[in-house]
């Protein structure tokens, strides 16, 4: 435990958060791409939410047509570089690679993908020439992967696209949420800039769309795409009062991503939750120098929603899991000093507290990674827009059109919270839906 010192300089931060999928060099990419079998009807492609022609781009890398490889990737996925680094490839393409069936290491598809796209970005290769303007305008709310992917495809088709983004930087949770050891902020922004240079869509930053703005957009644009993602952390029980060291995971991660060196959590950190965000928060707390990081989940280890490799990553930096532990209350007056838990058991599929099994764990900070809320309040301001009972926007399957015909939606706001790759897939698909709607 506590193998990391609190980073005080940019170099120390980089060391603590060193990239788990570093950029391949040319020889490594050559050797790795040589291993690909060029499978027929390749299962890796089926497993990719954006359906990238993986055997083709790997073959292109092998034939030293790196530019062609980048094109193959971007043709299917505008977040090609980011996805190569942040996708949970173990459960997607690489998890489906046929090599797994003979106990051999699957092809490192993600790293090869980033190799090709990085090359194109660094050389500033122009891969796309948008069609001449068709005179139609589309507004996009949210510059996350869904919004940006939608903007790229629409621009390619000749639309004038304006993105309205509440924050000061693009790419949504890729920038504000994804763990720093998966991708650096610079790399994320580099890709958005690369795309913007080719497609020319405009992003208006620090522009949170509210009901007033909606009226204006509906008047000035022929269609609107909602790529607003999710809301703030949802706490499992109401907090009687705010304590500075009781924090939501997305909020603390955002702070850490923006200010690498000023985020201070103390020595003892408790992370509550069992999803991927909880694993990230725990890993990040450890890499920020916390001596003891406890990951508390109210169900068993096997029931955690997090991917196994994400839990492995957390364990590898010393995070200690405490399972079947449900938080009851935060102990402390102005600051949290400890969390009181009760042991749980599973009865008929329901989690039940075991009476008399209460215990407390002392802490300097408590992070709740118990899920994000939906932006129901904002969405309810849109006329005729229907949400499902969980607050997700209802859309038609192929077109991503909402129940208000001029609105389309995709990404976390529709799927309830998935991955960057799903948002990128949705955004592109929705653009085609918008095109059908406006041209037909």
């Amino acid at each position: 435990m506590g193998e990391y010192k609190k980073p005080k300089t940019a170099e120390e931060f980089e060391q603590n958060f060193s990239q788990i999928k570093p950029l391949m060099d040319a020889s490594m990419a050559y050797y790795e791409s040589s291993r690909c079998l060029f499978c027929y009807d390749a299962p890796c492609v089926t497993a990719c939410p954006t359906g990238i022609d993986i055997p083709l781009f790997i073959r292109q890398i092998n034939n030293k047509n790196t530019k062609g490889a980048a094109k193959t990737i971007y043709d299917s996925n505008y977040f090609g570089n980011a996805c190569g680094k942040v996708c949970p490839t173990e459960v997607l393409c690489e998890g489906a690679c046929v090599y797994n069936h003979r106990d051999a290491k699957p092809i490192e598809i993600g790293r090869l993908q980033s190799y090709a796209t990085q090359d194109a970005m660094q050389k500033e290769i122009t891969l796309y020439q948008p069609a001449p303007a068709n005179g139609k305008k589309v507004a996009i709310i949210g510059a996350g992967p869904a919004g940006i992917a939608c903007a790229c495809e629409l621009s390619l088709l000749g639309y004038e696209v304006h993105i309205f983004e509440a924050k000061s930087q693009p790419s949504g949770l890729t920038l504000y949420g994804v763990a720093p050891y998966k991708i650096t902020n610079e790399e994320i922004l580099q890709e958005v800039e690369y795309l913007q240079n080719q497609f020319g869509f405009k992003i208006c930053f620090n522009e949170r769309v509210d009901s007033e703005k909606l009226v204006e957009l509906e008047k000035n644009y022929q269609a609107i795409f909602l790529g607003i993602g999710l809301g703030k952390t949802r706490f499992p029980f109401p907090m009687e009062k705010e304590m500075p060291n009781v924090i939501g995971a997305t909020e603390i991660i955002e702070q850490l991503k923006v200010n690498h060196l000023t985020t201070n959590l103390g020595d003892q950190v408790i992370v509550i939750g069992g999803g991927n965000t909880a694993m990230d928060a725990a890993s990040e707390a450890a890499r920020l120098g916390a001596k003891h990081v406890t990951l508390a989940y109210r169900r068993s280890k096997e029931e955690m929603g997090a991917y196994e490799f994400e839990y492995d990553l957390a364990k590898a930096v010393g995070v200690q899991g405490v399972f079947n532990a449900q938080p009851l209350e935060i102990i402390g007056t102005d600051q949290a000093e400890a969390v009181r838990f009760v042991r749980t058991e599973l009865v008929d599929g329901n989690v039940r507290p075991i009476e008399g099994s209460e215990f407390t764990i002392a802490c300097d900070a408590v992070i709740f990674a118990t899920g994000q809320s939906k932006q129901v309040d904002f969405l309810n301001k849109i006329k005729d827009l229907e949400l499902d009972d969980k607050g997700k926007i209802k859309v038609k399957e192929a077109s991503f059109q909402t129940t208000n015909p001029m609105y389309f939606a995709g990404g976390d706001a529709v799927n309830g919270g998935a991955e960057v790759v799903n948002a990128a897939a949705d955004g592109k698909q929705a653009a085609l839906g918008i095109h059908d709607f406006l041209i037909a």
């Binding site: 050559y30 050797y31 040589s34 291993r35 079998l37 060029f38 499978c39 027929y40 009807d41 299962p43 089926t46 092998n62 046929v98 090599y99 069936h101 003979r102």
Partner: protein
């Protein structure tokens, strides 16, 4: 322990692994180092007339993850002074009297040949190899392959050499010829004691597609070179076999071309070579590969019960026939071991696009294992060759093993088909989809 020592046309060596005449035998230093490491013999880098070499001399064929599966060079014979080579040769023989030191030679006139043969014999050479192979540079000056491609000229020069030679003479053949048995015969007629083959194959290994010039590049220009390394082994094996099967041919053969492992060496021996020479593999990995070659060969000989190299030489020749002697009744069919299949479906595309449409898919995402359509399988082996899993697709014999019938027997019995309606013709009844079944795109 099997006895690895050889007596090759009178040249004795502790084992059959010799260095081919090439950069690894440029100097006494290198040859001493090789003998020290365990090599049995060395053919000195070709000695002869003064030459000038160019800078930038090699280029390679790399395939996927593997470098230098083929090597091409435009280097000439040695450019080191003859007297230095002779002095070093003498020294090597002092330290290694029982190892084979063979002088490779290439000069022009009869007088030059007579002189150089005497020079190397005086320096202690155990044998002489006549380089009639170099396919670049030297041939433009009327030497090397220019000689090797003219059996009558080759024979004349061999005769000149035999007039003075006291040690055994090997003729090294060029593969740049339509029938290798002609120069092999000419060498025998000229009185040579042995042959070695192959020298390098005339080649261009690639082109710099940005600057429009083949490799290797010498000041923006290039020329054809000589090709060697693992990629040439199949050609060398076939030529070795061709020479070994010349009726009443009794000259020993030193096999050369793409040998890298003990297994390669064994293959050459089974097809008639009694020593082997190696160049590219040493240029790639150094003299240290001998540590694999010798024990590998020994262990193979023990497994097979061979006591001497001679016992194994030519063992595969009786099984190497002309096509007309192959059994037309023999039938194999591909079989997939489902427990090994990883579902890559390479076999499917290979047979579907490149063979006989004899492999089907279940169209099931969960079970990607293809199946063989037995009636369509002609037993070509292709699927088993592309399958990336060892022993996953095997070829299983499906005939009863009792009938035997060859094209030759059929011809002799006047049993060959005369037209395609003849039911004795091949391919009859083989199912092939209709051409239009191939169309997937709208047109």
């Amino acid at each position: 322990m099997p006895d690895l020592s050889v007596n090759f046309a009178g040249i004795k060596a502790p084992n059959p692994f010799w260095l081919a005449s090439a950069p690894p035998t440029n100097s006494g230093y290198q040859i001493m180092k090789a003998f020290d490491a365990g090599w049995g013999g060395a053919v000195w880098k070709t000695l002869g007339v003064p030459v000038v070499n160019v800078s930038s001399r090699y280029a390679s064929v790399n395939y996927k993850g593997n470098r230098m599966i083929g090597l091409n060079n435009i280097e000439l014979i040695t450019d080191r002074p003859l007297k230095d080579n002779l002095r070093e040769m003498e020294e090597v023989k002092k330290y290694f009297p029982d190892h084979a030191v063979i002088a490779s030679l290439m000069v022009e006139s009869k007088a030059q040949w007579h002189q150089i043969v005497k020079d190397v014999e005086n320096a202690g050479a155990d044998g002489i190899e006549l380089n009639f192979g170099c396919p670049h540079g030297m041939c433009e000056r009327g030497m090397g392959s220019a000689v090797g491609q003219e059996p009558s000229v080759l024979k004349t020069i061999v005769e000149w050499v035999m007039e003075v030679a006291k040690v055994p003479v090997i003729v090294k053949l060029t593969p740049n010829i339509s029938d290798i048995t002609y120069p092999a015969q000419a060498a025998k007629e000229g009185g040579a004691d042995a042959i070695s083959l192959i020298n390098t194959i005339q080649s261009l290994v690639g082109v710099d597609i940005d600057n429009f010039v083949p490799y290797p590049i010498v000041d923006g220009k290039s020329t054809n070179g000589g090709y060697c390394g693992p990629a040439v082994k199949p050609i060398a094996l076939n030529m070795t076999k061709n020479c070994a099967q010349i009726p009443n041919y009794d000259l020993p053969i030193s096999g050369i071309g793409g040998i890298e492992t003990w297994r390669d060496a064994v293959e050459f021996m089974l097809l008639g070579a009694s020593t082997v020479q190696i160049c590219t593999a040493v240029m790639h990995y150094g003299f240290g590969i001998i540590r694999d070659l010798v024990p590998g060969l020994e262990s193979y000989m023990i497994d097979k019960g061979f006591n001497t190299i001679d016992e194994m030489v030519g063992k595969a020749l009786p099984n190497t026939k002309t096509w007309e002697n192959l059994n037309l009744k023999y039938k194999v069919t591909a079989s997939i071991d489902e427990s090994k299949c990883i579902g890559c479906q390479l076999c499917y595309t290979a047979c579907e696009d490149g063979a006989h449409q004899a492999i089907g898919l279940k169209g099931d995402e969960e079970n990607r294992i293809p199946f063989i359509i037995d009636e369509n399988c002609v037993g070509c082996n292709l699927c088993s060759l592309v399958c990336p899993v060892e022993e996953c697709i095997t070829m299983v014999q499906t005939d009863d093993g009792k009938s035997h019938n060859t094209w030759k027997e059929r011809t002799e019995a006047n049993e060959i088909p005369n037209d395609f309606n003849d039911e004795r013709a091949g391919g009859n009844g083989h199912w092939i989809p209709e051409p239009k079944d191939a169309l997937k795109k709208k047109r």
